[in-house]
């Protein structure tokens, strides 16, 4: 293709491990034209980041090119002498890494680091260009003094400092909260257009890709699966893998969980309503949790009934995980009550830490952890991980019985019981998370707390785990507290939603009601920032509420605006007007 500024030809990369070459990228070709944005999409291990780094002539330690070439701006990157390569890196190609917190040198001031990147644009102008407030002051700060979003903006300023022709963006917004992500993406898009940059965007998030890219190349295990212009790819994906991938992404308008077939056909499974007579399994009233002098959770109340999924939604720092851990007995609340089976003859006090709860109560409230990689002891077989609670809680009386029950539980989470003898490292991420669920089920709980259980998973695996969770709560009448930052996921699985912000509930209600008419500006902001895997998608929430200035207007005796059917919104008002906002 003529006019390409980036051209990767049959690139193959391998790294040495245990004395042999392991291929990570296999004959990948791609072209990027001036001013265009190409997205490299794939799940973990697809080699997308490796390909992106080759544009700067960078390979990880121990890796090498086994075939093909990378040409940027007419220069064969891997044939360049060191001096030329350095010049290329500074002025022709620049990288924005995944985690700006790690990518900025901790011992150098921001301004220095940007200035060092070369170019003639003054640092303050650059910082202004990436929309950072008080740039002169900021330049004198150290990276750790900035928030994640600010750090990423600094990284971007550094990348564009020398006015390069190509920008390589490696998962530039992963790890950022949804609202921050939206801001950073908009900034990148603006800069790209303003400076006429070609961009290579690496992402696993199809929403981001749909929003940003002109063209998409889908990678799987180091090979190109499909390459097409963005709209074509999203509307008419050709490869079954691409189709499955696209279909697996939860959408904000799904009324239930999507079931994805082999060839990528998509069917939304409607939610089963929770029976009205279903008893309340957990009741939290006015719960407050403190970390030292900082208040993480501030007067939160909610009920979860048997068979119901209640989603706690919020950005990082909203207190949602703290609440989950407190319920699991890992933190002691500083105020309020938490009761297990409040209507029952023998209610359990969940305000006590796990160590002081009776065994039967501990058994019945179980936590599933966010990161399946660290929630299983790497030195013990997964069977052992499940057998231990079985024996500990007395749900199995003997060793053989525990082994038998463990195999049963592994089957229950749709895995082969023979995996029991494996170590966690020998399982995939999805399998590990299922084992984590099985371990939680070993205590035969009636309350399951799922703390961001799908965050670390690839999108197709995420869909499977969500479906499993949904099945289990139906089969076992579990009361499920589902913690997530991902609105689309919540939309599919939760019966009711509680939106948290800075430890305070701002809105709660039935999922459909909240999504249909979000009442609080914060909820709307969240929804507006969410990106759908569709290049033509309209913002889920109309209007410019995302930027609306508002302030809290809740009074101790008048906190809520009721919208019926349990949907209520914390009182707020626009910052400039003293008008109390009601229904939208």
């Amino acid at each position: 293709m003529s006019g390409s500024i980036v051209s990767v030809n049959s690139l193959s990369v391998a790294y040495r491990s245990g004395g042999r070459d392991v291929p990570v990228v296999h004959e990948v070709s791609l072209e990027v034209a001036q001013g265009r944005t190409l997205a490299l999409v794939g799940e973990s291990g697809s080699g997308k980041s490796t390909v992106a780094a080759t544009l700067l002539g960078h390979l990880r330690y121990g890796s090498r090119i086994t075939g093909g070439s990378v040409v940027v701006d007419g220069q064969d990157v891997f044939a360049l002498p060191a001096r030329e390569l350095r010049r290329l890196r500074g002025s022709t190609v620049a990288l924005v890494g995944q985690n700006a917190g790690h990518a900025l040198t901790p011992s150098m001031r921001i301004g220095r680091q940007i200035a060092e990147a070369g170019g003639s644009v003054p640092v303050v102008d650059l910082l202004e260009q990436v929309r950072l407030p008080r740039p002169a002051e900021l330049a004198r700060r150290y990276p750790h003094e900035l928030s994640g979003g600010q750090q990423q903006r600094v990284a971007i300023a550094m990348a564009v400092a020398a006015r390069p022709k190509v920008l390589v963006l490696d998962e530039p917004t992963t790890g950022l909260d949804v609202v921050t992500q939206r801001g950073v993406l908009d900034l990148i898009a603006a800069l790209r257009d303003e400076l006429g940059l070609a961009a290579v965007l690496v992402s696993h998030d199809l929403g981001v890709v749909a929003h940003m890219a002109d063209e998409v190349t889908v990678l799987r295990s180091g090979r190109v699966v499909e390459a097409a212009p963005t709209r074509t790819l999203f509307t008419a994906p050709q490869d079954p893998y691409t189709r499955r991938l696209l279909a697996s992404v939860p959408r904000l308008d799904d009324a239930g969980l999507a079931v994805v077939g082999e060839t990528g056909e998509r069917e939304v499974r409607p939610k089963v309503p929770v029976p009205d007579d279903s008893p309340v399994a957990v009741s939290a009233v006015d719960v407050t949790v403190d970390y030292g002098s900082a208040r993480a959770v501030h007067g939160v109340s909610f009920d979860v009934r048997r068979g119901e999924v209640l989603a706690l939604v919020g950005e990082s720092g909203s207190g949602k995980s703290t609440l989950a851990w407190t319920l699991a007995g890992l933190r002691t609340p500083s105020g309020g009550t938490m009761t297990h089976q409040p209507g029952h003859t023998d209610p359990g006090d969940l305000a006590r830490p796990a160590g002081r709860r009776p065994l039967s109560l501990r058994r019945r409230v179980q936590l599933v952890f966010q990161n399946a990689d660290t929630s299983l002891n790497p030195r013990r077989s997964v069977g052992d991980a499940i057998r231990r609670p079985l024996r500990f809680f007395g749900t199995a009386d003997s060793r053989p019985q525990a082994a038998e029950r463990a195999r049963g539980l592994i089957t229950d989470v749709r895995l082969d019981p023979d995996l029991a003898d494996r170590l966690p490292a020998q399982l995939s991420g999805g399998q590990r998370q299922r084992i984590g669920i099985a371990r939680a089920l070993a205590g035969e709980p009636d309350v399951l707390i799922a703390d961001e259980i799908t965050t670390a998973l690839d999108v197709s695996v995420q869909a499977d785990v969500l479906r499993l969770l949904d099945d289990l709560r139906r089969e076992r009448q579990l009361a499920c507290l589902f913690i997530s930052h991902d609105l689309a996921v919540v939309r599919g699985i939760a019966d009711r939603v509680v939106v948290l912000r800075n430890g305070v509930v701002v809105e709660e209600g039935p999922t459909d009601a909240v999504f249909a008419s979000p009442g609080h500006p914060y909820t709307r902001q969240l929804m507006a920032a969410a990106l759908e895997p569709d290049p033509d998608a309209h913002p889920f929430v109309e209007g410019d509420t995302g930027d609306l200035d508002w302030e809290d207007a809740a009074e101790p005796d008048d906190q809520w605006t009721e919208h019926g059917d349990g949907h209520r919104v914390r009182r707020w008002r626009t910052a400039d007007a003293l008008v109390t906002e009601g229904v939208s």
């Binding site: 700067l56 960078h58 330690y61 350095r86 010049r87 290329l88 890196r89 500074g90 002025s91 620049a94 990288l95 890494g97 985690n99 790690h102 990518a103 900025l104 040198t105 901790p106 011992s107 150098m108 060092e116 990147a117 070369g118 150290y142 750790h144 003094e145 990284a155 550094m158 020398a162």
Partner: protein, 318 residues
């Protein structure tokens, strides 16, 4: 930041106080009556009793401890049971001589080994790394007395470039000691450098694999700049504490080398005072070494703060 420094200093004092208690208790546990020890076996019981009173040995232990600490705070560590001189003056005399060796050792060992460690780390798995790593491995595998003995044989007996032993007493002037300082310092430097080289190498490799160094490289910076500006401040952080511990080790660990060279330093005083059961001197040396240890650590912490803005601006204890 100030509160962080204050907290570290307070912690250092706490450690010192605890050390002083430990030292006192340990020394009290030494068997043999001091008075009998001093007067010899021909001493009459009267003389022993008199000396016990004079030394305050008839008082309860805690009272003696407080007396000792009170004295130590005023620089009065009592009198040596052997020489009858003031312990404070004696210890500082020997300590000063050791400090001369330590200074030279630290200058050479630290600068040299950091440079070597960086080179090894940058040329990871290539010949300079293999060479440096092998030599430092041997350096840390050979005990210091072997190094010292070999140095004497080579550079004093075979080639009479340096004196084999120091013939001067603790009062020797720097000028008198200076010719004799090099071999002991070299012996210590070889042993010490091995650890610092390895630590620096590991730490340089770790940091060079870090994301921000990659970022800096991908900014198109020269290797020199990447190493000196981006990698080193962080790479030196873990090395700092190793250096501090090694310097602290010099204060007490030089016994072997000073013995070989008859160098009138704190290590030699330590050996002879233990042999003579000169309790006030042992206590003073232990306390002084503890002070050196604590100061070195404090210095390392403060240096770490200088290198790490995170510590400087936020302030965390560990």
């Amino acid at each position: 930041m100030l509160s962080f420094v204050a907290r570290r200093i307070a912690a250092a004092f706490g450690t010192l106080l605890l050390s002083s208690v430990l030292v006192f208790l340990a020394v009290q546990a030494l068997p043999g009556d001091v008075a009998t020890q001093v007067l010899g076996k021909d001493a009459t019981p009267d003389a022993v009793a008199a000396l016990r009173t004079q030394l305050g040995l008839d008082q309860p232990a805690w009272e003696r401890y407080f007396d000792w600490v009170r004295g130590a705070l005023h620089g009065d560590f009592g009198t040596s049971l052997v020489s009858g001189k003031a312990v404070g003056g004696e210890v500082s005399l020997y300590l000063g001589n050791s400090a001369l060796i330590a200074l030279i050792t630290v200058l050479f060992a630290v600068t040299g080994s950091i440079v070597l460690g960086i080179v090894a780390g940058l040329y990871r798995d290539r010949w300079p790394d293999h060479l440096i790593s092998t030599v430092s491995l041997v350096g840390m595998s050979v005990p210091e007395f072997v190094v010292a003995t070999v140095l004497v044989l080579c550079f004093s007996v075979a080639l009479p470039w340096f004196p084999a032993v120091v013939l001067y007493g603790p009062e020797a002037s720097v000028g008198q000691l200076l010719p004799a300082v090099w071999l002991p310092a070299l012996a210590l430097a070889i042993v010490m450098a091995a650890y610092i080289v390895r630590m620096t190498r590991t730490s340089v490799i770790d940091v060079m694999a870090g994301e921000y160094v990659t970022t800096a490289r991908l900014k198109g910076l020269s290797t020199w700049r990447v190493v000196t500006r981006h990698a080193l401040p962080s790479a030196l952080l873990p090395t700092l504490h190793v250096i501090a511990l090694n310097v602290a080790w010099l204060a007490g660990g030089v016994a072997v080398v000073e013995n070989v060279f008859n160098y009138p330093g704190i290590g030699k005083l330590m050996l002879s005072s233990v042999q003579n059961r000169d309790l006030p001197v042992i206590q003073a040396i232990a306390l002084v070494s503890a002070v050196v240890y604590v100061c070195c650590n404090l210095a390392a912490d403060l240096a770490a703060m200088a290198l790490n803005p995170k510590l400087r601006t936020r302030g965390r204890t560990r």
